[in-house]
Subunit: 160 residues, 2 copies
DNA sequence: AAAATATGTCAACAAAGCTGACATATTCGA
DNA sequence: TCGAATATGTCAGCTTTGTTGACATATTTT
C-alpha cells in the first residue's frame, strides 16, 4: 500500500538538485567513509553471527588482544561506551573463555584483561578478512603512499 | 564488588604478548579505521541527540540530499538494511517535514525521495563538522595525495 | 489474467547503546 | 587512621536500530 501522502509532483518545498561540493563541504569523502566502514565491518559480522556474538564482542576481543593487561577503565575509554554496556559483552567473553581477568598487582581493585588462546584465535580469525580487504585496497600504492593513509586516519581522530 | 572470578595471577592460558603485525595482519590500520569512524560520527551524533533523531536518520537525510529522487529500493540497497528498519526512520523524517515523497512518473509504484529546504539545511548542518574534521586531517597533504585517500577509501568498498 | 515488482505495515524479537542507583573492595589524602 | 575517592560490578528499565515473517495494495510486466 504505497503511502498516500506521496505527492503527484514536486511542490515548492521539494529540492531536486543534488547536494554537491558546494559550501566547502567534502561530501565525497564523507560518503566514502560510510561505504568503507560499512563493508569493512561486514566481514567479521558474518563470522560472528555464527557464534552468537556481535560487533561489540569483536571490539572487546580486538583491543584485549592488542593491549593485553589493559584495565576495564582503559577499555571503556577506548570504546567510548558506558560500563553497563561493556559489562554485558565482557561477561559473556569471560564466561565463555575468550578473556581472562587478572587482579592488578599494584592496585588490587583493577581487573586487568588478557586474551586466552581461544580469544587470540578469534581475534585473528576476525582480523583476517579485514586485513585482506585493506591489503587489496592498498595494492597499487607505494610504501610512502601507504604511510599517508595511516597518517590521514590518525589525523581524523580526536586528540587524547 | 570487583568480580570474584578474577585470577590472582595469569594462568597457563593467559596470553600476555600484544597482538602485533605478525601473521601479515594489518592491525594498525584496522584499529585506526575504528578510531577514525568513532570520532567521525561523534560530531553529528551530538547534534542529532538534541532533535530526537539518531544516526539512522542522519544516513537517510544524507543520501536523500546527495541523490534527490532516489527510490526507496535505491536507499535500501545503499544502506544495506531492511525496509522495515528504514520505514521507521523514513516515516519520522517525512512526518516532520525533512523529506518529501513523490510518485514516480514512469512507474507510479515508486516513491521518489527528495529533501525539503528543512531537510537540506539539516544535512548541511550535520555535514559541516564532519567536513571540518576531514579538512583538518587533509591539511598538510598535497592535492595528489588527497586524491590517494579517496582512491583508498573507494577501494575498500565491495564492488557493486 | 496472472505473475512480478515497489512499497507499506503489523508484530515480535535481538543487539547494543543509555541513565540512575547502589554495593564492595581498595587506595589515597588530610 | 579514617573518611573520601577510585575501580569495578550489578540491578532495573528504557531507547535506537537492526532483524524475521507475514501479509496488503497498487502498478507494471508477461
Amino acid at each position: 500500500m504505497p503511502s498516500e501522502r506521496a505527492q503527484k509532483s514536486p511542490d515548492a518545498d521539494t529540492i531536486t538538485d543534488p547536494m554537491a561540493e558546494i559550501d566547502d563541504i567534502d561530501f565525497d569523502i564523507i560518503e566514502q567513509l560510510f561505504f568503507a566502514y560499512r563493508d569493512f565491518t561486514s566481514d567479521p559480522d558474518a563470522i560472528l553471527s555464527k557464534s552468537g556474538f556481535g560487533r561489540a564482542h569483536h571490539r572487546v576481543v580486538h583491543f584485549v588482544n592488542r593491549r593485553p593487561g589493559m584495565t576495564v577503565a582503559d577499555l571503556l575509554d577506548t570504546l567510548k561506551i558506558t560500563k553497563q554496556s561493556l559489562a554485558r559483552v565482557l561477561k559473556q567473553l569471560v564466561d565463555s573463555g575468550f578473556v581472562n581477568q587478572v587482579e592488578g598487582v599494584r592496585d588490587r581493585r583493577q581487573r586487568r584483561l588478557y586474551p586466552t588462546r581461544k580469544g587470540r584465535d578469534l581475534a585473528l580469525e576476525l582480523a583476517r578478512p579485514q586485513s585482506r580487504r585493506i591489503t587489496k585496497a592498498l595494492s597499487g600504492f607505494g610504501p610512502e603512499e601507504q604511510k599517508l593513509i595511516g597518517k590521514f586516519l590518525r589525523a581524523m581522530v580526536d586528540p587524547q
